[in-house]
């Protein structure tokens, strides 16, 4: 992709400008999802790990609190 800046405004011009990542675009996306797909993937991975882990943690703590099932 060829990126071209306007010399005065220092903004991208041309076909690349519309698809390029613009952190200040008023698209309603929160900052942690602003870049689109890569942000979404990272967010979902983190959520899976933390929420899945919390459930696993609660199960493990429940099992550990049982008097009989200790090795």
């Amino acid at each position: 992709m060829y990126y071209k800046f306007n010399g005065f405004t220092q903004r991208l011009v041309g076909a690349a400008a519309s698809t390029a990542y613009n952190p200040q675009k008023a698209d309603g996306l929160p900052v942690h999802l602003k870049r689109g797909v890569p942000d979404k993937l990272l967010y979902r991975t983190t959520m899976a790990l933390t929420i899945g882990g919390t459930i696993y943690c609660l199960v493990a703590l429940y099992m550990a609190s049982q008097p009989r099932s200790q090795k």
């Binding site: 959520m47 933390t50 899945g52 550990a64």
Partner: protein, 261 residues
């Protein structure tokens, strides 16, 4: 389009605080599962999620400040207060371990042979590697100050060189300290001497690694033109942290390595 009538930053809703709290839960309960049931699954999940949360949270702060321009002078003032308070809390953290050291070493019990270092403990020579480590950290304090001056003067090449040197000195310290840990004739299990020594120097080493990582991120941002001569608080915060790490080492060196040998 709505505009704010104040100079503060009302952040977008973010999942990182609650995910960070969950990561802390996983890490601590993971430690329990590791200690008592020899299972490292939870701990791994905890450390991994902690890393992901930190990366994304701080990435978002950089987006909000450098790319979206939300860090007004008012916001920056708040961040300065925050960093000072955080470093102060870390100073209190280390104070506890220094308290423990002096409690045990000022009045050594009969079980230790009534002396400090305890009977049978051969301490590290403070004039060998520990003295070199002191020189390394002091030099890195100079280079990080050099970096700051270069940034404020707009001298990009010198700033990059000085910051790289600072980080390399930090890695050199860590490598030497790791070697010292390996070569020491005493371990953490060798009475309260080993406990106080390795817990205090160990946490210090962890803070050196954290500080080096913070400085490395600053180097990457410096190379990518994130900092301006007037606005570079991320770097200043890293430099404050690094000076703090240096000062803690000086106290460790004077008390545990030198007086305590």
């Amino acid at each position: 389009m709505a505009h704010q009538a104040h100079s503060y930053h009302m952040v977008d809703p973010s999942p990182w605080p609650i995910f960070g709290a969950a990561a802390a839960l996983l890490t601590t309960s993971g430690l329990i599962m590791w200690f008592h049931y020899s299972s490292t699954t939870l701990l791994t999940m905890g450390l991994l999620s902690m890393l992901l949360v930190m990366l994304q949270w701080w990435r978002d702060v950089i987006r909000e400040s450098t790319f979206q321009g939300h860090h007004t002078p008012t916001v920056q003032k708040g961040l300065r207060y925050g960093m000072i308070l955080f470093i102060t809390s870390e100073a209190f953290f280390f104070l506890g371990f220094f308290w423990a050291f002096f409690h045990s070493s000022l009045a050594p019990t009969p079980e230790l042979g009534g002396q400090w270092p305890p009977t049978g403990v051969k301490p590290l020579n403070p004039l060998e590697v520990p003295l070199l480590n002191t020189a390394i950290l002091l030099a890195s304090g100079v280079t990080v100050t050099w970096t700051h001056h270069s940034i404020t003067e707009g001298n990009r090449k010198q700033a990059i060189h000085a910051l790289t040197l600072t980080i390399l000195l930090g890695f050199y310290f860590t490598a030497l300290q790791a070697m010292e840990y390996h070569e020491a004739s005493f371990s953490i299990a060798d009475s309260v001497y080993g406990s106080t020594f390795f817990v205090a120097t160990g946490f210090h080493g962890l803070h050196v690694i954290i500080g080096s990582s913070f400085l490395t991120v600053c180097l990457l941002r410096l190379i990518k033109f994130h900092f301006t001569p007037n606005h570079h608080f991320g770097f200043e915060a890293a430099a404050w942290y690094w000076h703090f790490v240096d000062i803690i080492w000086l106290f460790l060196y004077m008390s545990m390595y030198w007086w305590g040998s």
